[in-house]
Symmetry: C3
Subunit: 287 residues, 3 copies
């Protein structure tokens, strides 16, 4: 409530006519986008439940025999390298290529990109296929920047969102992707514009797979947009803000991470578009 | 409470001496059937918890090195193609063959059978091995019928249970299986008799894997039956009715899909046989 | 409260200066150990949430391309054969060898070791690599003993913890591992000393993967110990006691296994070290 008026609501410098986050949420629920996910074993169940609670329809299809062929059937694709293996990586690459060919938006989640050379090479390979949105935490984004011709700064377990901002902008320019660095305050950029989302709750990182599931929610918002490429930055921003508002509501009633996870699904399901617009804390900032 | 007397209770035209759903549930809890599941990654955890809450004992074993050999150890088998791959399909076929050889009942769940040729061929191959029960939603059953020499009607995203009824009967006759088409009102048939189950709650499809877990519950009821082949239609009907009653109880206290999932496991665990028999809404109908 | 003074608290015959379970929990929360898990599909999500709630940091990494290389990055390793396949087994062996080479403690969970020759051979192979702790139920421990040159007594579905005690001691001596046999009252031994932990709740085995997740918690306690090899018996005992205390707290408020699972995560998260020390029921016994 103490935020300035530039912080509340969805005010982009270029256009006041953009749909609000609440309006985008309403559209998601009307269109019920089918979201195709190639994601990790830990996150699959949570991601499916988050997408259902939000109003989207999840499909988990990873086999090479069908993954790429399924891409045009869905409205959007997510690729998450959390429990990566060589076989799955091949299907991920084929699916990403199919998404570009079919004009489907797709979101890359480079889980733990920095912890092994296998994983970093996989994330780099997928990033080179130019995802619509790249969503990761600060350490993951910085790890990608080190090997992507970007700033090359050191990776630190305590990497903050601010430390990743310069890398995020360079990756956005290099790959034509919107980059979303999530943390206590999220930072998103398309390389030219930057925006912060301050919604969320401290218990969210205490529940496994809520970050992975957010990647699915970004895809759902993109997949319900009539022109996902037009302003993926605004769309991803709306997704993160809605997610954070639901987190705040869950946090207000939770006694710990167990009850938080339950309340969070209920909150996503019950999120009213008008209330979302009153509660989002989005700030367009200088890059 | 407003249902006619033909709708309440378990009244089959042929025999009044069949156990009631509540009596079958009591028998399940006494026998604690071991249910062997080859199921998808999204559903595994939920399915195990549902089977435990119901009173059965779950085992998830899928590797070719042991899947078929384990079949005779368990009381029943489920095969679910939700997150299919070539390697798993081979183990599924071997396990289904082993179930027939050992006289073990098994249930096929043809998840999203219509979305790719790989998946449809897999579902058809497994169906040709004559599962005791085939359980799917209307779209899945219709997709199987199109390629199974059945009616060939078009697949529609809005396929209803009624639209799948004719296909279900033909599949039942062709493969000697009971076919259960689940939806707002379930339809089950053995090709000669048809029955509807009206229990359930609108939040059930909003929680991922509850359909997959129901397949496990059907197997648990079959596995606790002294002669599973004698009347698999009545057994599967009882399973669906008990599941639906638990759903109604959970729905009465839930605030959304998160709290529904929690309350549903509690309701399954607390389900009293006598109460089940008072609340089931089963109707034998003309085919 | 009716337990004798030898039952309450952490009193080992050899040393009164050992940290209490509550002090070990406090150290875990300070160090936030990174726990590397190669575990089964059913347990992954639950295990990650349990570790987060306890105060540790989970990583699920199983591919041969990176599993062994990641071992020295983490503070401890768990290997669980629940949904075993040939490919995963190779990575497990490589990771266990890497853990020994790097001096990292590791915990083996031989899920259902007795149900197939494939699984038993895998568990024996891993056990021969001398885990810091072996944690299983009575039937699993006895199955390992039969083929490990130990007592060779028969496996029984009703195997109790007491029946496994002699096998546990022999395995501990043979492999230099602490063996933890979990059940209504847990028994732990290093081959010389024996200890019982009486904390826990009857709903714990009604929630899938809570046993598997406990294996992760043992690893987290080991990983936060400055010298994990010094007294792994006392460390594992503390882990089981803390877990059981949280189970008792969850059981006091749960209506069934669904609400128990939620309350258990909240209880783990809220566990206060001083309260733990007041509630643990640990008894050192004659072997």
């Amino acid at each position: 409530m103490s935020e300035s008026t530039t912080v509340s609501g969805m005010q982009t410098p270029a256009s006041a006519a953009l749909p609000t986050p609440g309006q985008r949420l309403a559209r998601l629920r009307e269109t019920v986008p089918l979201v195709h996910n190639i994601t990790n074993y830990v996150a699959m169940n949570t991601m499916a439940n988050v997408l259902l609670a939000m109003g989207a329809s999840p499909a988990m299809i990873h086999a090479r025999e069908e993954a790429a062929a399924f891409v045009p059937v869905a409205a959007a694709l997510t690729i998450n390298i959390g429990t990566l293996s060589r076989e799955w990586l091949a299907a991920m690459v084929e699916a990403a290529v199919a998404a570009s060919a079919a004009g489907r938006p797709w979101v890359l989640d480079p889980v733990a990109a920095g912890v092994s050379s296998f994983r970093l090479a996989a994330a780099q390979r997928l990033l080179s296929l130019r995802p619509t949105v790249l969503r990761g935490n600060a350490s993951e984004i910085i790890a990608l920047g080190m090997h992507g011709g970007a700033t090359g700064r050191g990776v630190d377990a305590a990497d903050g969102v601010a430390a990743a901002a310069a890398v995020a902008r360079e990756l956005a320019v290099t790959y034509g992707s919107v980059v979303a660095v999530t943390g206590p305050v999220d930072l998103l950029t398309d390389g030219v514009r930057c925006v912060r989302v301050a919604n969320g709750h401290a218990l969210m990182p205490q529940v496994t797979a809520l970050g992975c599931a957010l990647t699915g929610v970004v895809a759902a918002f993109l997949g319900s947009d009539p022109d996902p490429a037009a302003d993926a930055l605004a769309t991803a921003t709306a997704a993160l803000a809605c997610y954070g508002v639901a987190g705040e509501r869950a946090g207000a009633v939770a006694d710990g991470p167990g009850s938080f996870a339950v309340a969070f699904l209920d909150a996503l399901h019950g999120l009213a578009p008008a209330e979302v617009d009153a509660e989002v804390r989005i700030e367009w900032v200088d890059c």
